[in-house]
Symmetry: C2
């Protein structure tokens, strides 16, 4: 007898961190479900836990094992934490990708950058247009966020319907794009949603979210009272914000110039697909350099302190021949993401040292969030009225708080971190299983398991430096010539020719005391040399570097 | 003709960062001043800029060059960022150290830990007691902060008087120790202070600081409504806070147990010098394990996410056989220092995953700051009424904002970051010179210049891994046997025996194509090998590891 179908939900990324979103929805008999994926994003590395790594993405081995069960990937919007992993994990594979037009532009670039054509990609129109894939019928519901054409995903299946919010905010006047079309949502959901998968990133903000449109007046005031050059920074993809600032500048008699690759290419992509309605014309850096300072606004990349972006370079010295100083104003139209505080404040400090007037520090006047605060979530729960709420996109503390909020407003909910298999039916949602979840690191061009020894070894190298010893044993079992020592990353007094020579001498005399039986055995000799070196360093250094012994034998 | 005396101020640490405070005051003819130092503190390393480093301290080469001009060191209080560098930089040297009793206990420990007796140390009573050193007469003015016996330093000189605030807060009921004795301050300052050197860390907090004493009621409420085990964490040295929490627990029927070495040793030191008035009795972990959970409060180290402290261990598994779970409550009675957010929130997430009720997130109810907010600074300026205000302890942005505040309240001020030489006289303060300032890293037991190649090399190792090649050239200029490759910190597919063998083979055949003239020259051969390896890695890895070539010759 054939097993009956079930509807399951499996988060592989984003339900346990802010970043690297990846969610699977499956319909079929247990163990033989077909899946669709919503989003495939990245997170960003840091020196403490992922030195040298380019990007972090969900470890999707669960679905890689049976890729033919993956019917398609739906991308809610073009932020890196929703789209950044697609080309690396699924580029060139026989899996269709669906998105709206602007998101599609970004996906095309990403596929191209790793050497693939974009024939996997299908650009689709929003609801009522639907993509049918076996038991699934999927549509894009436009919803405001901080990048054009963001969408919630309506997933209708033969086993019931789901509403995946994606990242969103409640905004009746989002400056670029449309506010939520409640009629469309009603029509789409028909009061028949089993589960709402809902953004949790801003659960701890207790006040209602503020509209993008309120910033215009503040920027107007800023430009009115400011004389020198003004530089503003925000996320490159926050095109509504760029529009707000640029329109305000133009209105107040300033030309607008954009500095930084990411921002220029976002504006180009958005222009190409016609989602920049009302965006003012820009001047290029050459023209900008000829403008009087009080007639110019620069929009610059690097709001998170990225060391090579325009903002950091402007703070250090100059960028494309623009140099900041007394009389100029620099405004962060952004919130600092946890982990980036030190990088951002060092830009602030350098600018302050140059005499620049810097506006920053959780600046409510020049930034609004793109995510739903607690009262907005309450509203969203009500709009969708699902049987159960499954918090997505957040650390465990966010997901848990979102569950508690659901309880308060009278909804069932389930805490389902990455790897949880949740079965959803008319009775609600139950955890039925667990699958592997974790992280992959893109290191150079290699995808590695985050638990590989690689990273552990690198951190050890970073903390202790390395001392390499080369030793040649001749046919008679004696050291040929002398050992050779070379160190990297040690204090100067322990590194370099002089220090290496002292170590070599000490090693030579140590080895001359060793039994022939030890010298004859590579493993024993290596251990003995390592112990001797460790003893010397522990005396002179108070700790031991990584020690590497290369033994050659003339025989 | 002898030059006339001048009075100068030189910050070497703390005026450019939060942490590693070190301030010099000099009196004498230009270039031949005698100095006193106030504080000699440390800052803490991170993987991004100081991997493997134990502690960061001011580069004091300016004063090390003429140590005999340093008459003495005065320590305002026992926080690491004011006291942590003394033993490393001045231990065992012929320089007297002065502090109050509790601070002295901590200094003794620090001297002992690096192998010195404490005969350098003189414990002194507060004002009106004065230490006279040539042109200086120095006294300690008790002032509330978040550690016992904090003091401002009154520096009377033959060239005028200065008031160095140290870290402080305005608190009329500081729970442990005394509030500001305004009569004493008036008597000490006699309305005759040339310059006020004033704490700037909290300049951006716009509301008046809150008293330590207001927390008692909140903890009372917490204990009243909570059933399970309660764990609270804060800075080990915040003994007033520990007292507040412990008293509240006791009042509400809970025994108190302290977990973590730092906290236990702080309590012991404070007890030894009798500054723990009203501190309740504690039980040891063995007794605590026998208590019902609802009858126990645990005070735990690790409020900043330190991975080996009690809090982190309790979140990961267990600590001294205590394990947390559903029904238990964990409260952060602390503020997260910028840079520690990720470490702290990962503790929170792990505790939430265990079902623990966690109270955190800038929790105003369970934490008050130990530093002066903007309105408190205005008050302090007024109390001292100096000729000029010199902001200390803060990043440049804090110092600058403090200067702007001074301007608003009608005071002259001067922005004087580390290394600035400021001359102070009846006319105010002027920058007259600059001296070297920077950072020293304590790496193991070695003190190194933060700009040494060491750290740069380690970061390179951490980002790229290392590939070492050993090659033996025989008498005839041929490779003897084979090259030997060993890699550390590379992706698994590029590391290990198999990968090394492939690389060795490729190198062997590369070298066999080389001209004898290249093989005969160490430098040329090294360059050629490095280029070849780089080419291979750039193909297979997308980046190049650190490459180390060890060439031996049989001749």
């Amino acid at each position: 007898m054939a097993k009956t179908n079930r509807l399951i939900y499996i988060p592989l990324g984003g339900a346990g961190e802010i970043g690297m979103n990846m969610y699977l929805y499956g319909v079929g008999p247990s163990g033989r479900e077909n899946f669709i994926m919503v989003d495939a994003g990245v997170a960003f590395p840091d020196m403490a836990s992922s030195p040298g790594v380019n990007l972090i993405m969900p470890d999707d081995r669960f679905i890689q094992k049976s890729l033919n069960s993956l019917l398609g990937i739906f991308v809610s919007h073009a932020h890196e934490d929703h789209v950044g992993a697609i080309a690396h994990l699924y580029g060139g594979k026989d899996i269709p990708i669906f998105s709206r037009k602007f998101t599609g532009e970004i996906i095309k670039q990403k596929l191209y950058n790793v050497g693939y054509e974009s024939d996997q990609l299908t650009v689709v129109k929003p609801f009522p247009n639907k993509i049918k894939l076996k038991d699934f019928s999927v549509s894009f519901i436009p919803i405001p966020h901080s990048i054009p054409e963001s969408s919630a995903i309506l997933i209708e299946t033969t086993m019931g319907n789901l509403f995946h919010s994606g990242d969103f905010k409640m905004d009746d006047n989002p400056v670029l794009g449309d506010s939520i079309d409640y009629e469309m949502v009603e029509k789409a959901c028909k009061n028949d949603i089993l589960a709402l998968m809902c953004d949790s990133t801003n659960i701890f903000a207790k006040h209602s979210g503020r509209s993008e449109s309120i910033l215009q007046r503040n920027f107007d005031n800023l430009f009115k009272k400011t004389d020198g050059l003004v530089v503003a920074t925000t996320f490159a993809s926050n095109l509504a914000r760029l529009k707000t600032i640029a329109v305000s500048a133009k209105t107040n008699g300033r030309e607008v110039c954009v500095l930084g690759r990411a921002m220029n290419s976002m504006i180009k992509a958005a222009g190409d697909v016609n989602v920049l309605k009302g965006f003012p014309s820009l001047i290029n850096p050459r023209e900008a350099r000829r403008m009087p300072r009080e007639k110019l606004l620069i929009l610059a990349t690097g709001s998170q302190g990225e060391p090579r972006a325009a903002s950091a370079q402007l703070s250090r010295s100059s960028y494309m021949n623009f140099e900041l100083g007394k009389g100029d104003t620099f405004v962060f139209s952004s919130k600092t993401i946890p982990g980036n505080e030190v990088a951002v404040t060092s830009i602030v400090n350098r600018l302050v040292e140059r005499g620049v007037n810097v506006i920053y520090e959780d600046n409510d006047d020049y930034h609004v969030s793109g995510h739903p605060n607690e009262p907005d979530l309450v509203k969203m729960h009500k709009v969708i009225t699902p049987k159960v709420i499954i918090p997505i996109h957040g650390e465990v503390r966010h997901l848990k708080a979102h569950c508690e909020l659901a309880k308060k407003t009278g909804y069932e909910s389930i805490l389902a971190p990455n790897g949880t298999v949740v079965e959803i039916n008319g009775d609600g949602a139950q955890k039925v299983d667990e699958v592997y979840s974790g992280k992959l690191f893109l290191d150079g061009t290699c995808l590695i398991d985050s638990k590989e020894k690689t990273i552990f070894d690198r951190i050890k190298l970073a903390e202790n430096g390395i001392c390499s010893v080369s030793i040649i044993i001749d046919e008679s079992g004696k050291i040929f010539d002398s050992v050779w020592v070379q160190s990297i990353g040690l204090p100067q007094k322990l590194e370099g020719l002089q220090a290496d020579l002292i170590l070599e001498e000490s090693l030579n005399s140590h080895i001359s005391t060793l039994d022939n039986s030890i010298i004859a055995n590579d493993d024993d000799l290596e251990v003995s040399i390592k112990q001797h070196i460790a003893k010397i360093f522990s005396r002179d250094f108070g700790k031991t570097p990584v020690i590497q012994v290369l033994i050659s034998r003339l025989e």
